[in-house]
């Protein structure tokens, strides 16, 4: 595991997310945009295992919290579902694009739902059309994510074939 490259990648994605660059490619009136950090989460959960997957998941969750309204929901939900995905990858190989897209979609939806629930418990407001935005974000991220896996694999010097 190349930790320095990992750190640079996470910081880069967090800055892009915080700067609102995904807003430039947002769709519909609901302003649905892809979640770059979630794509990273699924990538590291699929291509790494054990301690590395756990550390990566929670670190990406911390980065997500730094760019969000409150700290805590991202760490917990990213860490929980990233670790679960890493364990699931031992049983069901997530190597092909359709499988990767499905994994990103399910993870995105579950993470978004958990973040919203934990945020609600701590007094963060919930959007009236929360489920529509969540569904749209999950679909958009799932559509974009698998195409970012090859450059991520190149950067992290990971062999993509499963």
């Amino acid at each position: 595991m190349r930790w320095i490259r990992f750190a640079v990648l996470v910081v880069f994605a967090a800055v892009l997310q915080a700067a609102g660059l995904p807003d430039a490619i947002a769709l519909t009136r609901l302003n649905v945009r892809p979640d770059l950090l979630l794509i990273l989460l699924v990538f590291f959960a699929v291509y790494y295992d054990g301690n590395e997957a756990v550390i990566c998941s929670f670190t990406i969750g911390f980065a997500a919290d730094l760019t969000g309204p409150a700290m805590g929901p991202g760490i917990i939900s990213f860490g929980l579902f990233g670790t679960a995905l890493a364990y699931l990858n031992r049983v069901i190989a997530i190597g092909r694009i359709p499988q990767q897209a499905a994994a990103i979609f399910v993870t995105s939806f579950l993470v978004g739902l958990t973040v919203a629930l934990l945020g609600f418990l701590t007094g963060q407001p919930a959007a009236a059309n929360m489920y529509a935005v969540l569904l749209g974000t999950s679909i958009y991220t799932a559509g974009l994510g698998p195409f970012l896996f090859p450059p991520l694999a190149w950067w992290m010097h990971v062999q993509q074939a499963h």
Binding site: D23, N51, F58, M71, G72, G79, L80, Q124, P125
Partner: protein, 278 residues
């Protein structure tokens, strides 16, 4: 024999050595850290977010402009529009203050009143580091904090209109909760009315005024003024304009009023924090 959560073996010289923790142990520790962050006071967790915003202020400021460029393609430059909007808001503030002064004169209150919402106030200029304008959370991060005299509750101005209040401060960074945030509520007055109404943020750059009976004359385009607040705002100032006014779907006897900001929130690059009686 290996331990349950850590690998342990007998090394050279008979000494017990501990290996790296298991994935399960790591997961437990990290979840604990996550819950600590979740339950910790926001004044503590804000330091991490403010530090991130401060360290990456330059790329965040650059990145903030790119979505604006994408959306502004094909549209003419709005430099003249910004000035015009600023002057319109300034005129609206003056007209409202004049109306209130005339009313006070009529009432013969006998009290000395200061004319001008900003008379006696100091303005702390600030640059916007980052803003969140979509979804229920509508906030801005600015590069002024406690060290610059900014405290929680102060009103924030852009284009001569109120956009929100300071909700938390660090030493050199502050978080502005915009009035369109779903967790924001404040008393306002519409146009020439003397009746206080409660405006609540609705997210996605809009706010709502509810429980206003249809007997009140309100129309799209009417100005909405933030009510004065002793110690923070001496006189009403424009905060928004009514975008839509129609009978409520749930109760036809009250209005469902949608308020939009008087300035282009996405294009705001600098704001001013109102410090009353500095």
């Amino acid at each position: 024999m290996a331990g349950k959560h850590t690998s342990r073996w007998i090394g050279r010289g008979g000494r017990t050595r501990f290996g790296p923790p298991s994935a399960r142990m790591l997961f437990t520790w990290f979840m604990l850290v996550g819950f600590i962050f979740l339950l910790a006071p926001q004044s503590f967790t804000n330091r991490f977010q403010f530090a991130f915003a401060r360290i990456f202020r330059w790329p965040l400021s650059i990145g903030r402009g790119i979505p604006l460029l994408v959306r502004a393609r094909g549209r003419p430059a709005n430099g003249a529009g910004e000035s015009r909007r600023r002057y319109q808001n300034y005129i609206a503030n003056l007209e409202e203050q004049l109306r209130r002064q005339q009313k006070r004169v009529e009432q013969l209150s006998g009290l000395r009143n200061r004319f001008g919402a900003l008379e006696g106030a100091g303005l702390v200029p600030a640059d916007v580091i980052k803003h969140t304008l979509s979804g229920p959370t509508n906030e801005m991060l600015i590069n002024r904090g406690g060290a610059d005299g900014v405290v929680q509750g102060m009103f924030v101005l852009a284009d001569n209109g109120i956009i929100g209040t300071i909700c938390s401060v660090g030493a050199r960074t502050g978080r502005v909760k915009l009035f369109t945030d779903a967790a924001f509520a404040m008393p306002v007055r519409v146009g020439g009315s003397d009746v206080d109404m409660l405006m609540q943020g609705a997210g996605n750059g809009r706010a709502k005024i509810k429980l206003v009976p249809v007997s009140r004359r309100i129309a799209a385009g009417d100005a909405v003024f933030a009510k004065e607040k002793p110690g923070f705002l001496d006189a009403p100032m424009i905060i928004g304009k009514i975008e839509r006014c129609r009978p409520d779907d749930d109760s036809a006897s009250v209005w469902d009023i949608t308020v939009r900001p008087v300035c282009d929130m996405e294009g705001v690059g600098s704001v001013a924090v109102i410090v009353m009686n500095p």
